[in-house]
Structures are given as C-alpha cells and as structure tokens.
Symmetry: D2
C-alpha cells in the first residue's frame, strides 16, 4: 500500500501516520521528494483497512497495490478452474457449452418444446426462470417451485441439465433440490447474503456481472462465494449500463472477457441476449464473444417471442437459434484450426 | 402507449399489430404520416407488456406514455405522505429531521457516546449498521443481533429512535423486534425478495437509491414495498456512479430531490456522507440538499474517524457534526423566513 | 411527433398546444384516454423544434418518431456507401482494409520503418498523428506540417495512402494537401466548425465516435459533414467511457457496429487500440470487431512501444502486428466460407 | 510516481525498469514486499511519460502521485484568483455575480428587452449565443457577427458586459472585438486548438465542464489556456452525463464546486439551466449551487420561452428570473450572516 501525503502535510502529521501503520505491524519506506512525501508499506495489505489511513489528517491518497480478491485471483492459482455441470464443462478445451432456453418458465409444454428444439440444434444445457426479478411488482414474478418442476420435466425428457436463477437465500435448499446450477442475476450481484448462501451450497454457480459493476466488484462477488468454500463458479458477462440505451439495453463489454481471464482462473461466458436486448444483435455478439475467448454462451430462445411473458424482443426463435448454432460450430472449427496453425508456427 | 412502425413496415405487419392490440382489448388511433405509421393505444397501459409489441415484426419502437408506478405516484395521490418514526416525522412542515450515527455499530460504549453527543447537537434519530453489506468478504460484516442490542441500549439512554440496514428477508422479524425503521441499502435496491419482505412488515422503511439506478427504477422499488401494503417509505438520495470517482465516491444527484417530489408523494432525504465519501464535502452538500427541498438528512458521525471500522474518511467528528447542526438550523431559519416573505408578496 | 399532455393538463392548455402546432402547419390526431390526452402530429417533423412544444404549460413529454439524421440515414438510402481512399475501399465486399501505424509521427526513419513493416504484414493504409490532441499542454503536440511530410515520404516509399488527424478548421487546406483521408478524433466529434470544414473539403473523412457519444449524436456529427456535401465518411468505433477504467481505457462497444450498419449506409470500422488501451486486448478485440461485421480495422503499431512518444501501452510491436494479420486473414477466410455455406443452405 | 511490478515479474524485468528511469534522471526507492516489488521515483514527475513505463514488460501499474496541472493548481498558488469582467468580479467577497440572458441571440429587440429586464432584477452580466454549437446541422446556428452586434447594442443600453461562446479558433479576433468574456462550451472543452487560441487572447474566459469530463480533464483544459499566458479563467459546472436522462438533461455535480475550489485557485460558477434542462429545477439548483460555495451563477432567461429558438424548456421567464433573484439575494444575506456568526464563535 502506498500513502501519498498532501504537499503541505506537516511533520507531525507524517509522524502520526508512521506511528499508526507501525502499530498495525507494517514496515515502511519513506520517499521524501521535492514536492511531497510518499510512504510505502511492506506487509500483508489485506490486514489494513485503507480507510483508516485515508481518515488521517494530511493524507492525500492511499493506493492499494494488491488486488482485494485472493481465492479467485490467478496470481495465486495459475491454472484454470474447470466447472462441471453434469456432462457439461466450462473452462476446458472441449466444444463450447451453450445454454439456451426461455427467459421465464411459462408452461410445461413450452419448456419441453424448447428443450427438444435447442437440444436438436446442439445446445448442451437448459435455462429458464422460475423466480423472476422484475422491475415492476405487477409483472409476472415466476411460477416458483412449479417452474422448477417444469424444468425438471424438460431435463428428464432431453437429458439436458439446467441453470435457474435464485433470488432469496431462503430458497437455496429448494432450488438446489432441482437445479444443476444456481444463477445469481445482475441485480443481485452484490446481494451478499445470497452470495454467502450459494457459497455454502454444493451446486455450481453462475454469477452475472452487475448492472454497472466494475470488474473488481464482480470478482469480489465471486470471492464471497469462494470464501464460503464453493469455487465452482462461472462468471457471465451480460452488459453494463451506459449513457445511451436507445438502441441497446446495455453495452456488452466483450473486452471484460480477456480481462477477467487474465485476473482470475474462473471460466467466463457471454450472454448477448441481456447484453444487447435486441434479437438481431444476439448472433453477431455471440460469435464475437466466442472469438475473444469466452468459455461458453447463454442465450434466450422462445418458440414464439411475441407471446413471451418476458424478454420477447431479445429472444431468438427456434429457427434463428438453429442458424446461430450452425454459425457458431463453423466459427469454432475455424478458430481451432487457426490456433493449431499458429501453434505450429 | 404509442407504437411507431418502421418506415418500411408492410401493410400485413401493421394489420398484425392492430389485431394483437385489439385482442388485448385496446382501442387504437392510426396516424398515417408521410414517412411512417404511428399507432396510439387507448386503454389501461399497465395491462399490456410493451415487449410483446416490440417483439412483432415491423415495429420500430414502443413508447409508454404512463408511468409504471401507481401507488407511489403523485398523479394518483396529490398530497404528501407523512412518515412517522416515534416522535420524528418525515414529509411534514416541522424542523428537519436529522439522522446521525456511525457507519457500523462497533462497541456499546461507542454507540452510547455517539448517541449522547449527536442528541446534544440536535440530531433527532440514530443510525448504525448491525448487518453490513461490504464489498469484501474479509471486511467486518457487522455484529448482527448484538449490534441491534447496542443500538437498543443507546436508544434507551437517549430516547432517540433508530434506523438500521436489513440485508436478508429472513431477518425482517428479528430486526423489526428492535429497529424503529428498516433501511434498504443501495446495493439491495433491486433485491425484490427483500423489498417484498419489508413491504409485508409494519415498520417504516428507508429506501436508498441504487448505485446507478434511474429515478423510475427507484420509484418502482418503492412501488414493490407499497404494493405489499406498506406505504411508510422515505426515499434517500445517496449519489450515483459516474465515470469520475477520483475525488468523490459518487455523484450526489441533488436535482433528483425536486424531481422525485414532483413524481411521488413520498418524502425524500439526502445522505451526503455516501453521496461524496469525503468529510469536507458533507456539510456543504447537506446544506445544499436541504436548500433544494429534501425532507431530512442522514449523516455518518464517529468520535474518532481514524479508528472507525468502516467509512472513516466520510465520517464527521462529533465537533464537526455540532458545527453542521448549527449551520443547518441557521440555514433552516433563513429559508423559512424567506419563504414567509415570498408567500406574502 | 407525439405530444403527451400531463394528467392534470387543463382544456385551455390542450387547446393552446393544438393552436401552436396548427400555426406551424401540422395536422393532428387527438387521443383522449382515461388518464390523459395524447396528440399525434402529421407532417415534416424536421420543421418543428420539439423544445418549442416542451416549453408549453401542461405538456409532459414530446417524443419525436423520426430520426434527426437524413442524408446518412439508411431509410432514405438503402444501399451501402462505398468510401474509396486510393486503392483502398471501405464498405465493399473485398478484403478487410487495415490501417496501421504509430500514434504520433515521431521521426522520418521510424515512419518509414513502420510503413515497410506493416505493408509487409498486409496493412493497406498508414496512420500517424502530426497534430495531436493531448490531455496535457505539456505533452508532445505533434510535428505539424513536418509530420505530414514524414507521412508523405513513407507513402512514397510504400505506396500506402495515409489518414491523419485534423484538429483546427484552419488546417483543412494544409492537411488536405498531403493526406489521403482526414480524421476527426473523439474529442472533436462535436467540434461543429471542424465538421463543417471537412464537409466542404473533397477528402474522405474518418469520424471517430466521441468519448461518451450516443449513437444518434455520432450519426448527427456525420450528418454535419454530409450536409456540406461530403458523404465519403467512414465511422470509427473506438470505445466509450464507463464507470470502470481500471483495466481498460474505454469500453469498446462492438454492438454499435451492427447498430449503425442498420441505421446508416456509411461504412464503420473498429479501433481496438484506443478502445481498450492495452496491448494484450488489441488482437482479440480486432478479431471480434471483424466478426460482428466491421468494414475494417485501425490499429496502433510501434517498433519499440517503450520508446513511443504517446500511447505506448496500447501499441502493437511489429511482430505482434504480423501475428494479428495472420490471424485476421485466417478468420476472414473462415467467415467468408461460412457465409458461402450459409447462403447455399 | 509509483511503479507496481507484477507478482511474477522477473529480476531482469525489474532491472530493466530501474535502468530506464535511471536514464531519465530519476532516483528510486525499491520496496521488496512478500508478494511484489514496488518502485518509488523521486524527481520531477512532469518530465516522465507514465506510458513509457507502462509499456515495459512486467509492469503492472504506474501511479502518478502529483497532479498533472501546475499553473491552475492551488498547491502552487494558495490564494484565490480574481477574474474581472468590467465591473464584475468572480472569486472575490462581493455580491454574487449573476449572468443572465437567452440561449441564442435572436432579434435586437428581444436582446434589449431581456437586458433591461434582467438588469432591473439584479443581473450583473449578459449572455447570449451568436455562434451556436447545435447537435443538428439543420438547427439555427446563430447570427454570427450580427449577433455580436445585437449583444453590443444591449450592452450599450444597459451597461451590462456580456459573455458569448466561441467555437472556432479563427473567430477569436472577431469575437474579442465585441465580447467582454469568451465562453468555451461543454462540447469544446477538449478542443485544444480553441483553448490555445483563447489562451493567447487577453479576454477573460469562461470554461464549461465537458459532457462527461473528469475533474482532472477539466482542470487540464484550464491549464491549456493558462499555459498560453491567460489565467483570467472562470470554471463553470453545467452537469455531466449519466445513465438516466429521462427527467433531467444532465446531472448537475454540485460537489464538484467545493472539489475544484480545493484543487485550484480559479473561481467556479454554476449553470443550472444546462445542468438540469428543466425550468422548475433552475431556481432550487441555483440556490443549492450558491450554498455549496459557487462564485456566481449563469442562467438562461427568455421573455417567451415557447418562442425561444433554442433551449426554451430550461429558460426562465422574466418573472421567474425576478423571483429567483429575490430568493438568491435573501439567501446570500442569510449565508453571509451565518458565516459572520460562525466566525465569531
């Protein structure tokens, strides 16, 4: 940690800071420049609350030099974490896992119809919301346990495992009884009670990036889960808020994918449906996500988007999903072959 | 609701949209302009999911003309809601309520020391965190029920009611046993399970604005609470995220205060501590908040900010708080007398 | 244009609005709903300043239904515009044009070294700054005309045409004497005097998206150029500002590429160097940009990034650029062959 | 400057960095912590381009510890700069200067009508746009020199000096012939050619904050003007862009006012008209701006806002302006008297 004193900091103020950090067990190096004094701390930064120093008189700035996340930090685990959900693996070298399904679980017939269709097109996992976090209390809030049963039925029919969102720590037991993977939605990325609850479960977790979350905050949310003992976490980039939402619901931050792969050993997938909010953007952004190195894809699919109970405008039809899968598999083959050529150079 | 068709929308696409909205029980007006067709809907907008229309082919845009919030909407209740917490009222004409106290409840002695001091300076209510939503899982998470007991002891000593944050729906019963008012923090503004749970309680609620929440989303979060039957809600502006956080933690959006007073009948207060993150900005922004018409103030106070377990840099000392209260009461008297003069003109 | 009256708008207020728009030559349709009155206007929206109506009492909102841009709007020109710079074409079906070169023109030797190297790797056009818009007045501001001469020399050596930034309307004549294409930088996207000046020139223009520009503002900036008679405009997505700049300088908004291709007939390219600010992100984001349909690429290359006078951290070395070009051409071949297969389906 | 090496940086990488900064004439302190090496630099930071170090292998981060602005930095000039425009002073202890007038100069009669009215209400300076930076090329672009003549006529009638916007470096001579103060608008805050041109003039400058400008960028823009020799600069906070523009055009960042007063010795005023875009918010935000310590106010006034050629919805009528001035002067008197009481404590 670096402590930058104000230009006009007095000698007693400097001494006070040195005493405080000494009491806290840190060694220091003091650089007395022409303009100002800079104090470097040697010791375990995680044991010091930077705010305690920021609150001292004469301190201009306190700059941590270590990342606040530990368990999920690649610096301390260089190899990739592989997350396994049934037969599906995230983070490995195999074919890209693709999760598909409707925003909300609507009827059992529709779930089975979608599940068969997406499986036929090559999806490897199912999605669907039984507990829905909706902006309006008057919008459909999900079928709850009944929705989980519809998902279970679709899984039995097709063999596809499923992921579903959880919104209340009290539901972890119930949802874990059914779901193969628990999803933390964007609005709950900093619902720490929920993060701890899924961290204590033994289910793999998909952690969506928050609406305007920084990358550090996102990884700290993963750290919450991991610090409870559950490191089977898949990150999911789904777009952040910008000052322009006229043509897209969010800005899908694809560069975040290589960034988090550098910072963390956890796998990271892309969700172009929420990331754009527009059907015509889903396929190009899905392909771009996989080009930048995402470990998989999650996409909303509905047989009749006009009749969808939620997220119709961003849902692919079954036909468009089939087309996307053909394009994705062709792109995957090309990228793999390019990689092989590059490796041989 | 207004439906704007694409310039090149075909006649069958237009007819399909008209059929859909007709089936849903809406009357329509069709304006055929030179460039494009615009369809106006007459009927109860809240019965129509705009996404169902957005998902139709040939539709360019769907623009709701009514607000999505109803119970908290001033259009449907012109008079102000008064929220009462013990002797303290928010939204009335009396002196500005001022809530003060530390970020975290630390020790019983410290709580009592702060409570006596802020009461002596004129605070009307106490704050303190027993359940702390912290960015890091390794940071102090609050004392839990013990913290509530410390707050209770401080209340008994001083007679000041208290507000404290709640982070898990399962804790509503426990926290309501102690607290006079339940706080929903910024990170939980769209934790809908929590909003419903406090909506079913009979405690007044303070609802902080989310980290990058729009005003509509904030009022929809209030609507969640209200729709469960609890309209004793105080809104709290605490700053939003911007692209520059070098000198302030957030941008305190003071214009949001007159904006929500126009849109809603709920009282709204200002929190300049979280809104700025810097001690030297708290007093000027508190005064500005009250100048624009906030119904009260919440501010962090700590006897020794350097030793605070959280939020030290933005906490006022007891002396600075006393000074702020003198300035506030003088400003309040001036504004009231200016208002009286203006009214007499 | 749609005029939404306030719920409590009076009959005289409604009549006043109807009179105003009637005076201005518009026909109206009036929808009297249960809650409020909505007025639709029929006529040429571009002749009406929406603010004139917004300023009327009793008006709640005014919603334009047409886009404010005309010449660059695909609704009025369905076919793609092709921009030609020497042998290079933007917007056509040929191989992707790739613009490469240093941030600043430094020395003549370095420009020639870079030009030869990037040409050998397959770049089709050169870039380099002679007039540099720098955040600090103490940073290198560019060599001015001398820099243009160095670029000219590199062009003569290699045959590659070049693009260079222009920052002052007074320099249009001078820069046009040398440059094949004029660049408007992000900070000058709404420098309307400059836009008009390049609009009156006969040089193709590259128009970068502003730092936090909306898509409509970007296309309106293009409209400024086009309305002066110059429609040889290439748009360039280079990232927008977000609340997190810890790991990337900007958020490269790749979805903006298919969005502007839908809205406008102008070609659009991607600049992953400024879009990310980090060398290791340039290649993946370049490939992703081309996957989503960008019409070309602009990338910063420097033989010794550590010694670059500006933008070293985001500059590719000559070796990394060569590698990127091999990957790009392989990806391009794959995408073309996938497209052919898809077309044959 | 602080250089943070990567956790896995090699010894040769560390040595390379030490050699580089040594060559550049800096002394260093090296802290070898448990996890990583941190290098502190002693010397004049402004002589080192941090990007040159960021571009080195093994470097994780480079953190400047000094501000990039010098002439406008309060650390190097503790006393306030006073800017004088005719009889009006910004930054002193006298009554708040208030600049009022229409967005655009429309007709000579209207300018004279406004000038007389705002003077009668207590305005001390006039504003009006002769060169208008408009988002659309089809919107009124200002009368140019004719507009300056109308402003001149209004000045002659009332004795009020005026400020007007300049958008092209070529116009500095022309506009300086008429105007008492030159305004740099938000869209041109980083139009460095324009900043240098007004820096070489001898007219006082009003520098508006950019649309999404950080505080450092704003002060660096002021530094551009000052570094050319003109330190008669008034900063103007006019709101920044956020993700919610449904109810306000911008977020007026009032905390920025005490922040820049701490960082710089330049005076800073507030513009609540552009800062909010809504008439009903202008008066409360003007009063709040002055409460937080702004050195003055700029506000848009139009006799008939419905007929305004631009910015009608945010323009005060003559009556509302008169009311605002009465409220402001009463508030000013109160704040002064409170200050006197506080000083006497």
């Amino acid at each position: 940690m670096i402590i930058v004193m104000a230009v006009n900091a007095s000698e007693p103020q400097v001494q006070h800071v040195l005493d405080r950090v000494g009491e806290l067990g840190f060694q220091t190096t003091v650089s007395r420049g022409v303009e100002r004094i800079v104090i470097g701390l040697i010791g375990d930064e995680s044991r010091l609350n930077p705010d305690a120093i920021r609150a001292c008189e004469g301190v201009n700035d306190v700059m941590p030099v270590s990342k606040p996340f530990k368990v999920v930090n690649r610096e301390f685990q260089p190899h990739d974490t592989i997350v396994t959900v049934g037969d599906v693996t995230f983070g490995g070298d195999g074919p890209w896992p693709v999760i598909a399904g409707p925003c909300s679980v609507e009827t059992p017939e529709m779930m089975i119809e979608v599940a068969h269709a997406v499986k036929a097109s090559g999806a490897t996992m199912l999605r669907g919301g039984a507990f829905k976090p909706r902006t309006s209390p008057y919008a459909f809030q999900g079928h709850g346990e009944l929705g989980l049963q519809y998902l279970d039925a679709a899984r039995k029919e097709t063999g596809l495992p499923f992921v579903t969102e959880i919104v209340d720590p009290a539901d972890v037991g119930l949802v874990s009884k059914y779901a193969d993977m628990l999803q933390i939605g964007a609005r709950n990325m900093q619902n720490f009670a929920l993060l701890k609850a899924v961290g204590r479960s033994h289910r793999p977790v998909m952690l969506k990036r928050g609406l305007s979350s920084s990358i550090d905050e996102w990884l700290m949310a993963a750290e919450y889960i991991a610090s409870e003992g559950n490191t089977q976490i898949v990150l999911c980039e789904r777009g952040i808020r910008s000052s322009d939402n006229q043509y897209t619901r969010n800005v899908l931050d694809l560069a975040a994918i290589p960034v988090v792969k550098k910072l963390s050993h956890l796998p990271v997938i892309v969700d172009p449906s929420h990331g754009t909010g527009k059907r015509y953007l889903v396929s190009p952004m899905a392909q771009a996500g996989l080009t930048v190195g995402a470990h998989g894809l999650m996409v909303e699919v509905h047989p009749r988007p006009e009749e969808a109970w939620s997220d119709g405008p961003q849902s692919l039809t079954l036909e468009l999903f089939a087309e996307l899968m053909r394009d994705l598999r062709a792109l995957e083959a090309s990228l793999n072959s390019n990689k092989a050529i590059a490796a041989a150079r």
